[in-house]
Subunit: 322 residues, 2 copies
């Protein structure tokens, strides 16, 4: 059912030394795949511009407050949008903004025909009480390119994949799995984590692409045993290097959504970023492995751009229909 047109498979095959049973996994590069996705989107946007006299997809990132990490994420989204030709606008509301004012801003953007994608940057950095759910769900399902609203989650969880926006991180993971050439249908897939942004929608996407899916979490009794059964393993737990190579089935596809900072005195910053999977040991067991950084991260941004372009296309279809 995974209907996104496949990119050309650019990754090489795993180097394996069968004599001593040591494998080296093929690195599934998110950087490379994201670059290809963005190139394709840029072509599509150029085509739209030519065909519809200067039309450009519009994306708004609505931020409350001024968190450093949010600023960093937003700037990478704006940069990607600029590369593709998406008209991206960053609206920053001060941290003294009330919930009602945020809601009114969302509703106004829902009505703006030049906005095809609208995302609320989370977490909200506000001095006032904010119902994050209420605000996320106020975004029109037609513009919810983050795919996080209740309506989108409902459609995705019940298999209506064509009617919704797929959340960006799990969608990026599916694209990386597709890059390996390993089919999803009929495989045993294990997802570790059940967050709204990663684990829960990842389960849905794997299930509706016909994998047999097991969701593990903090209460799972024997995590190594569950992991050992996975042909496809997606980890989004937020615990540094928790999944060990010894747990992993030989040849499995391992997708690591973790972004964790650990102390590293050898770096000038005093820290480095690692995933939820212990890379060195996983590298000796997995068939395919995503690195951190440079794996799932860049795909999340690329998929946000893709959703925005899809939304813009839909609006053009509606326009030509009427």
């Amino acid at each position: 059912m995974w209907c996104f047109s496949r990119l050309p498979l650019r990754i090489g095959h795993a180097s394996r030394r069968h004599g001593d049973r040591r494998f080296v996994a093929t690195v599934v590069s998110g950087n490379k795949t994201a670059r290809l996705v963005k190139q394709r989107l840029a072509q599509q946007v150029e085509q739209m511009q030519t065909q519809f006299s200067g039309f450009r997809p519009g994306l708004v990132v609505l931020q409350v407050g001024d968190r450093d990490d949010s600023n960093l994420y937003i700037s990478s989204k704006l940069k990607a949008a600029a590369e593709i030709g998406i008209n991206a606008k960053h609206i920053r509301l001060p941290s003294c903004t009330s919930e009602d004012q945020v809601l009114r801003a969302v509703l106004a953007l829902n009505e703006d025909p030049e906005v095809h994608g609208l995302i609320v940057q989370l977490p909200l950095d506000s001095e006032k009480p904010m119902d994050q759910e209420l605000i996320t769900n106020a975004v029109s399902p037609l513009k919810d390119v983050d795919g996080l609203s209740c309506v989108n989650a409902g459609r995705l969880s019940r298999g209506e994949l064509r009617d919704c926006f797929l959340p960006c991180t799990p969608q990026g993971c599916m694209e990386l799995i597709a890059q390996t050439g390993v089919p999803v249908s009929g495989q045993n897939a294990v997802v570790i984590g059940r967050s709204k942004i990663v684990g829960a929608p990842m389960h849905d996407l794997l299930l509706w692409n016909h994998a047999t899916v097991t969701v593990c979490h903090s209460r799972t009794a024997d995590l190594p045993l569950q992991v050992s059964r996975a042909d496809i393993l997606v980890v989004g737990m937020g615990r540094a290097e928790m999944v060990r190579g010894e747990w992993i089935k030989e040849g499995a596809v391992v997708i690591d959504c973790g972004i964790n900072y650990v102390p590293d005195p050898s770096r000038s910053s005093g820290k480095r970023v690692v995933g939820d999977v212990h890379y060195a040991s996983a590298n000796e067991r997995a068939g395919f492995l995503t690195p951190v950084p440079g794996g799932v991260g860049p795909m999340t941004v690329a998929m946000l751009m893709q959703n925005t372009v899809i939304s813009a296309k839909r609006s053009l279809q509606d326009r030509t229909r009427t």
Copy 2:
């Protein structure tokens, strides 16, 4: 997280013959449990009537057309409502009704303050084209006591169990599992089937009650192996007696949602109803087993009544708040 107040555990312990390793499962009676639920609901409705001068929960069953099976299901719902003191109304629209007319009927009932629960009996038996999704989703999430709308599915799938109506069949299954006294948290649960009404929401309920959940379906490679790992097994595939006793883990909780008719020349009707589990062989392996009929079926109706009473309570709370 399973927050519904537990009923007294009335079921006996399994008779087991350990010498030759033959077990006989404890029967988990849906008839008995549903009766207890309805008794409790009747008390609650009586209390409401006393406290709020004659107030009664209101349920509307909206039917299009005149299918025999629908008529049978509706009459059992109306009967249960009458037993409890719920004011249930059956609206039957002729099969020549248009989609627009059905939608207008739904919207009018959404506005009616005396209607606390509104269900659209599926399948729609109409001569005209009907978008079943559109109609199901037109029911206000505040009255969607079947729990089948997109908004309810989205909340449930993302773990917001307190904000939604739990779909009746999986909720009934959870109640039957609770009756066994076997804890859900940390157990390996396997769900066979991924329908909107049974499998998909069953996964959600088990997951958010902290089981490690695997969903199997028609594309699952080795179903007997998956089944053999289940401490809790819920089957909703719609295939007569497909799950064999030999597959089942000794002592497991087995909940059978199947309702299948098979030929039986010894009956005057020429047929009998069986579940998706082969009862005789499962009875020798499972620790707890639901019968068909008399297992999940009556619980579905009882849970619909429970959701209606919950909805009525919420409306009373809103009334006293304002």
